[in-house]
């Protein structure tokens, strides 16, 4: 389906330069975390999120191979009509990507902060198994705080 098109209605658009949602994809392309941070965007069912994540994973890999420059690291951002997507891939192949407002700025440093929250509250959690879905309460709490901090700064 067309995930991106029309997901934010320009007439009721109340978020400027905010981050709408975060996806975390493991190195096999499986969705291990998803969260939406704003209230009036369209939500989907679980399967759609899984499909979105693995499709993005595939696109990311294809972009890396199609790139005319050597050593390309794949998709880092996508600009659409009404939104933008930004992706950060770790050395171990985990991808963090956000769907944000078209005019969002400094998303790279936000993604770095999200990565730090992941390292602290998921990887340092003895009860979290690598590459598995992230179900860590402290990760949710600190991620919400990080995104809220970013979103409140730009509004």
């Amino acid at each position: 389906g067309h995930y991106g098109r029309g997901s934010t209605n320009a007439h009721t658009h109340t978020h400027t330069m905010a981050v709408f949602s975060l996806y975390v994809v493991n190195k096999a392309g499986g969705l291990i975390y998803h969260r939406t941070f704003v209230k009036d965007v369209r939500l989907f069912d679980d399967n759609t999120y899984l499909r979105v994540a693995s499709t993005f994973h595939g696109m990311h890999a294809i972009a890396r191979q199609l790139s005319p420059t050597k050593g390309s690291s794949g998709l880092s951002s996508v600009q659409a009509d009404t939104f933008s997507m930004h992706c950060f891939q770790t050395l171990t192949g985990t991808k963090f990507f956000v769907v944000a407002d078209l005019h969002a700025r400094d998303v790279e440093s936000l993604l770095q902060n999200v990565y730090e929250v992941f390292v602290d509250y998921a990887l340092k959690n003895p009860f979290y198994e690598a590459e598995m879905p992230i179900r860590c309460e402290l990760f949710d709490i600190n991620l919400d705080a990080t995104i809220a901090g970013y979103n409140s700064k730009v509004l």
Binding site: K124, N125, P126, F127, Y128, R135, L138, F139, I141
Partner: protein
């Protein structure tokens, strides 16, 4: 016995004991703690045994810590009063391990043989989120063991337990270590 000169770093066993005060990265400690917990998880059947394993590990550390502290502080004498020992644990032990004293030391109002040490942000648990199916496990059991090791080897036998206590105005619950001393300790102390 030193292996210096060949570019090999000196063994930790060759370092002079009095030179204390070294810092370890919190990340390194957290990953080591994770490994310890995984190690025990493979060898036990339930959550209670996991906590017990962590406590036993801490106990050995507590015993050695008391020896090391007493050795380093040349002017120290063996503590005979319970309150001094409690203060040693809540300030000296905490400062050496965590860089700052515990947030509070309290005596229980209901029981004359119980005391509590509480801290807002336990370094051991800082990055740990317990999944719902693990029940009420508290990895601070490791610290419980350290505390108990110190008191028992100083001849203040006691039972120690860790509890989460939700506090007004604080988002995350505090960790409270409850120490219940044996009758003989309380009686000796009141003389």
């Amino acid at each position: 016995m030193s292996a210096g000169g060949s570019g090999v770093p000196p063994s930790i066993l060759d370092r002079p004991i009095p030179r204390g005060k070294s810092e370890v990265s919190l990340s390194a400690f957290s990953f080591l703690m994770s490994s310890v917990i995984h190690y025990f998880q493979e060898r036990v059947d339930d959550v209670l045994e996991l906590e017990k394993s962590l406590e036993n590990l801490g106990f050995g550390i507590g015993v050695r810590f008391l020896e090391l502290c007493s050795f380093r502080d040349r002017h120290s004498k063996r503590e005979l009063k319970l309150l001094s020992m409690l203060q040693f644990v809540s300030s000296t032990l905490w400062r050496t391990l965590f860089g700052k004293a515990a947030d509070s030391l309290e005596k229980s109002v209901d029981h004359d043989d119980e005391y509590m040490i509480s801290e807002k942000d336990s370094l051991i648990n800082r990055y740990i989120s317990v999944p719902r199916d693990m029940g009420t496990i508290n990895c601070a059991a490791f610290m419980v063991g350290i505390i108990r090791g110190v008191f028992v080897s100083a001849s203040f036998p006691c039972e120690v337990s860790a509890h989460y206590v939700a506090t007004e105005g604080e988002k995350l619950p505090r960790t409270v270590y409850l120490m219940k001393f044996s009758r003989e300790v309380i009686e000796c102390d009141s003389v």
